[in-house]
Subunit: 803 residues, 2 copies
């Protein structure tokens, strides 16, 4: 046994190696280590840092969705008192200090517009000034001459012949990531194409009793973290330093090194903490522009985006997914063809990867022998889309879990039974061909169902259908719709984590035997510092109070690929434990010399090293450290997952392990106003093993609210490429008013010492289809186009009435 | 062979292990890596950092030199708008969150006055306010009732019976340092006593032909770094974070951990860079008060001392040294008794250690068979004294090198010959009983002498003395004194480095094969980052541009005892090289797997790993790193010196190796005004091996200027315990006007690949006696009490005339 399976088991062994001692930190709901600072507002975000002489950076943005930039004249702006530097393409052409393009996968994004602007809001120039007034005034003095070009906003339209091409010529690859599957072409808006081919989908449809074809749509939405994008940059003497609110300090470092043609060691990215991320702060965003301005100004520059600028920086992918699913009359899924159009907006960002997750994420946690997926990332003239909590899987689940209910109703089956019948079980193969383990869909679905009294009520409904026939039962609902109609639904999803990926950690045992853990995992309110501290504490045999988890600083903290993909507790958790084991090994060596015993005969715990079986022959960690005069001991740990998918078939290893969740939802629909109220919501997620139960709950609660906003009202609305609601008056996010009356959570653990699974986002994708299915259950209308607004409900009710 | 000798040789081997390849970084005068930021003012000092909601901290100071604090009433100050917190002993009594005393060796210093004030300027209370105006106004509203006590300002007087005792009761030890020799007593101002006993000093005097007894005095002086003391502190949820301008981040961390009863891991000290240190920023200074204010205010507090407050914070020790030296007529030194009174001021700070260096530092680089030293640190009611460039050795050398010239003149010997006759040579034993190696006094003295044409002119003088007799020759000078009289002198010194001590470093090889070096060495303008980078680059086989040396951050950077004692290039240099070797070993292991070769058959250099003898079988560091998917590799290195002196005899190992310097000086004394002009100065220092010749020169140049200020005009002047010149109008430091007309430097290297010696301060101590001896040579009067002011010269000339 080798490869991913061996590694999975090794990781499981490490992540489960802490004995669940009653006095350990793991498994306890200790408060977040920075809770007090966070709630009192004394915590320092990137926003709060300045350097001597820091200038204010401001961005001039394109008013056009697509235009050639004919001329940029910054001379009037430069003469304005208080203005130190104005950056435009004029500074970036014909020089070789700075590569003016960036992007985590494709170098397709200019620091400022180099030839064209590609969306309303695309940066064209930027000003560094003594204060905000001067900077704002200078923006108005920059003269830009544009030549407007035809624009395209819809992904499917962008692929039609004759559509304007945003990025003509061959794609410019930046290097990128081991896990990304690329199928590139020149001179097309189709910026990447993920293919999954399993079995023979045509044969599957031929063997099916019924074939269901539907299209599901979801709009772009915004992450809306409390803290907008912020970067403070200094470029000086062969060094670039950026204090940034980023989830990916090492990727940002690599991108800036590429841009400035510097070794990685000469680029420093410091991350204090984030006021939320949700994917929006992955990969370079405002940092390259801040750094380029600092380079031009020869002084530090800080850019803080306004809320409306944040909306113009990154979004979740809007999508349309065509699902064609063949089933047997008994409900067995036989074949599925999924065609997914992810609207990437104007630049690639991480779309080339996301369509893979969205592609295999259109299949769901089901055994389907014949599968064909074509998932496309498409350039259009809107705000670039990027990582977003749920990462492509939300969009896929929206489609397949909506369709699962349609199928169940059509077949006269209990939607729960249909899911249970097809759900993946241990030893099954996922659509990617990999064998899955540790599958818990039966428990998850039963829990979600039970929480909303599903079986009892569903059995009544099924009895009604059996006695009246499917069509009659469906239509019988309509005339009898009450003012407030109630409905229920259950959904389930499967989600991968970025694979392969690498996390490294270091552990520094101090002179007094306390422990400092060095990681580049980003704390953004999700509690990374706390859970990594808990894992380190138990591994070290120390109370949590004696453990510190550092902030990322690429000068000093070890490599981590990224804080995203629900990977931190799992991947960095293992790396941290390995690092602590490494330092403990060194401690035992030193103690062995002092205790005149072999290190193998020693055991470490409770802050002491003792000879096994002779507890009186013991030294505290502090004694060993001080007597050794070593100052400190340093251990390192690396955890790298392996895997990857074949670019032609999508077969291989898609994820180091699979995240699983289910939801139960009961809604009440006001048939007069169209308003949907969530009466009851159950989020159930498999955690393997909880490091901090309270934090697991908070993450799951947050995921649920995230999903509810997207289910009911979140939507970036464009008018001819112009975003019309880039603010929190016109763009709604859930408030406490929108909380379900009865929200309950179940974080499931494995029997025994389970492997730790990340759960940072697994509970987002089940929410939107759960709401849509419950609405259908309540009023018999199917909303296939998010969000499920009162207007759409009323319109659907009216059209049903007129049918 | 083991112990210090083995270690010395091992360290020498490591520090010399870089082959002096013409393309290496070591040995080249590369510009300081932060030169541009430093000279353009864009470098960020602690001064430049703030956290959200940072308050201004201001200190109320005692107007009395010694008084009991009867009552402190802060209520009026607290009511002032804008005042957030007022800290006094009222907050610190009867609580157990905070230990209100600190000090690196003795816990004798209150955060604010707890029972008494002990010098004019002693902090009594402190205010944290929204702005400086409010803070200043609040200080005036704090009511303090004092009961004045008798005070004592002179160290010898403070030891007399009946002198007021500053710290009654038993000494409170803080823990402290492995190298410090303690001889403590209760209820005395004698806070520590260093004893050195070698041979039989009484027998020595009996065997001597002549006995010389003199007392030499030097006043307290101030370091005057450009940047005053600054600390920004945050105390929150079991964590203390301090951004400070400190030379000793790890000692400060330990002190704050002690004070707040926290594990080391929960105290973070971040040091960006310092605007000079010179010893003033060693050990806690303003940081405990900033942290206590932040604790009381529950908000971050920043304290920036004014220049006059800096004068009230720490000084160099004023001293009186009684030297009794017995010699043979041929000039052989036979016996010396030194009694040194170091005026420690009101608190111990590092005095308990410094008197050791000052004690063995009163013997000089000479073979003296019979030695007795009693070196005392004495509490008095003046500003506390602490570490200062030259560290006790300056004071000792001032005495012994002044007396050496007196002896030579008295014996009719050439002062150069007298020194050469007695100077330590390889294999000799120093006064501490340790065998010395790598002694270069002959070269050093000859160089200094030659630079000022010593031998030629001295021989004339000796001829004159021989023909006229000693007394006649001396007195014959007086009547013939010209308006401008010229004189010359040469001096030499020996200086130890703190031993034992520990430095650790880590080396992080990044994915692109560039290298980040993690150290806690503090960059304070001396070039630590540059030389450590040079050493790391050559060890790693990388160009300097691909190497980064981090800033200290105790959360992430490894332990280092302190940046002082000229120990960084030597001790941290070895640690860095060991860390790089460790990471290279790991790199070769990985490369071996890829190249299918044993790691032993591989060699690393020029950024590539190649099979020995088959250069075509090679991989770049970057290739190895990326293919390994390890993210980075981490190596560690520890260098700990061993040694220590016996508390009763001062015998043992005083220093891991010995720093050596000489000076040649020619002065012109204006006999009408008393003004001394330095015509020519030669500083000669043994570097073993230069890492960066230009930086060695700059350090030596700086040391010389430091010494000239102390020789000619620097002096903290007190009036009844009140410092009367705490500002740069009344306290002079050298300006470019004071530069010698002809200043030349000679940084000597060993033949072959020498061990690296620190030279950060070795050239300070020779300066003051060189000037005094040259003045004597010019005008025949001996100034034994620094500084050598025009007033003293005129007075001495007058008293000579009247004799």
């Amino acid at each position: 046994m080798n490869g991913p399976e061996a590694e999975r088991q090794a990781a499981a062994a490490v992540s489960a190696s802490v004995s669940p001692a009653s006095n350990g930190a793991v498994g306890r709901s200790v408060p977040m280590v920075d809770a007090r600072e966070r709630v009192t507002g004394s915590i320092a975000y990137a926003l709060n840092f300045e350097l001597p002489g820091t200038l204010v950076g401001r961005i001039l943005r394109s008013p056009y969705a697509h235009a050639r930039v004919v001329r940029v004249d910054t001379s009037r702006a430069e003469r304005l008192p208080g203005v130190i530097a104005v950056l435009s393409r004029n500074d970036l052409l014909d020089q070789d200090e700075l590569l003016p393009f960036f992007g985590p996968v494709m170098r397709d994004q200019g620091i400022v517009a180099m030839d064209k602007v590609r969306f309303v809001g695309d940066p064209v120039a930027a000003v560094a000034a003594m204060d905000d007034d001067a900077a704002q005034a200078a923006l108005e003095l920059i003269e830009v001459e544009y030549e407007q070009l035809p624009a395209v906003f819809d992904a499917e339209e962008a692929l039609e012949p004759g559509a304007p091409i945003l990025h003509p010529g061959p794609p410019r690859l930046a290097g990128g990531f081991a896990d990304i599957v690329l199928n590139l072409e020149s001179d097309t808006n189709r910026l990447n194409h993920f293919k999954l081919r399993r079995g023979d989908v045509e044969q599957g449809f031929a063997e099916s009793d019924l074939i269901f074809e539907h299209t599901f749509r979801a709009p772009a939405v915004q992450h809306v973290p409390f803290e907008t994008h912020v970067a403070l940059a200094q470029v000086e003497a062969g060094r670039v330093t950026v204090w940034a609110g980023t989830q990916t300090p090492h990727i940002l470092r690599a991108q800036l090194a590429d841009m400035f043609r510097l070794p990685l060691a000469q680029v420093r990215v410091v991350v204090h903490t984030l006021g939320g991320g949700y994917g929006s702060k992955c990969y370079p965003k405002v940092e390259p522009l801040a750094a380029a301005l600092a380079w031009k100004a020869r002084r530090p520059v800080k850019i803080v985006l306004s809320r409306s600028e944040d909306f113009l920086t990154v979004t979740k992918h809007g999508v349309s997914i065509h699902l064609k699913t063949g089933v047997k009359r008994d409900g067995s899924l036989v074949a599925r063809q999924a065609t997914c159009y992810f609207n990437a907006g104007a630049y690639a960002d991480i779309s080339p990867r996301l369509i893979k997750n969205g592609g295999y994420g259109s299949i769901g946690p089901y055994r389907i022998p014949h599968v064909r997926v074509d998932s496309y990332a498409v350039y259009t003239n809107i705000v670039p889309a990027g990582a977003f909590r749920g990462y492509g899987v939300s969009q896929g689940a929206w489609a397949y879990e909506s369709q699962m209910d349609i199928i169940a109703r059509e077949l006269g089956l209990d939607p729960l039974e249909l899911r249970l019948k097809n759900a993946l079980r241990d030893g099954d193969q996922f659509a990617t061909g990999e064998t899955v383990h540790d599958m818990h869909y039966e428990r998850l679905l039963e829990d979600a169902a039970q929480a909303i009294d599903w079986r009892e009520r569903e059995s009544e409904k099924v009895r009604a259908v059996r006695s009246a026939g499917v069509e009659a039962a469906r239509h019988s609902l309509i005339p009898s719709l009450p003012h407030k109609a109630r409905g229920r639904a259950i959904t389930c999803v499967i989600k991968g984590t970025v694979t392969p990926s690498t996390s490294t950690a270091a552990a520094k045992l101090n002179e007094d035997g306390s422990l400092s853990v060095l990681t580049s995992s980003v704390e953004m309110g999700q509690g990374a510092k706390t859970v990594l501290g808990q894992l380190a504490a138990d591994e070290a045999g120390l109370p949590l109070e004696r453990v510190l988890v550092s902030e990322p600083d690429t000068d000093t903290t070890p490599y981590d690929q990224q804080t995203s993909s629900s990977r931190t507790t799992y991947s960095m958790g293992v790396a941290v434990k390995l690092a602590v084991q490494d330092v403990k090994r060194q401690l035992l060596e030193l103690a062995g010399q002092m205790l005149e015993a072999s290190a193998d005969d020693l055991e470490a715990g409770d802050g002491k090293v003792a000879v096994r079986g002779a507890p009186e022959r013991a030294l505290s960690y502090s004694d060993v450290m001080r007597r050794s005069r070593r100052g400190n001991l340093l251990g390192q740990g690396t955890f790298a997952t392996t895997g990857g998918l074949d670019p032609e078939t999508g077969q291989g290893i898609g994820s180091a392990h699979w995240h699983q969740a289910a939801a139960g939802c009961e809604v009440e629909v006001d048939t007069e106003t169209g308003k949907v109220e969530i009466l009851k919501f159950r989020a159930t997620v498999f955690a393997g093993r909880m490091v901090n139960p309270r934090q697991c709950e908070l993450q799951t609660e947050g995921s649920t609210l995230f999903g509810l906003g997207q289910a009911l009202f979140e939507e970036m609305r464009y008018d001819g490429g112009q975003l019309v609601n880039p603010n929190l008056s016109d763009y709604m996010i859930p408030s406490f008013e929108d909380l379900p009356k009865d929200l309950s959570l179940n974080i499931m653990e494995a029997a025994g010492a389970g492997e730790i699974h990340g759960i940072g986002e697994t509970s987002v994708p089940p929410v939107m289809p759960a709401v849509a299915n419950a609405v259908y259950d309540a009023i018999g209308v199917r909303i296939a186009d998010l969000p499920i607004t009162p207007e759409k409900i009323l319109q659907a009710l009216r059209s049903t009435e007129t049918t």
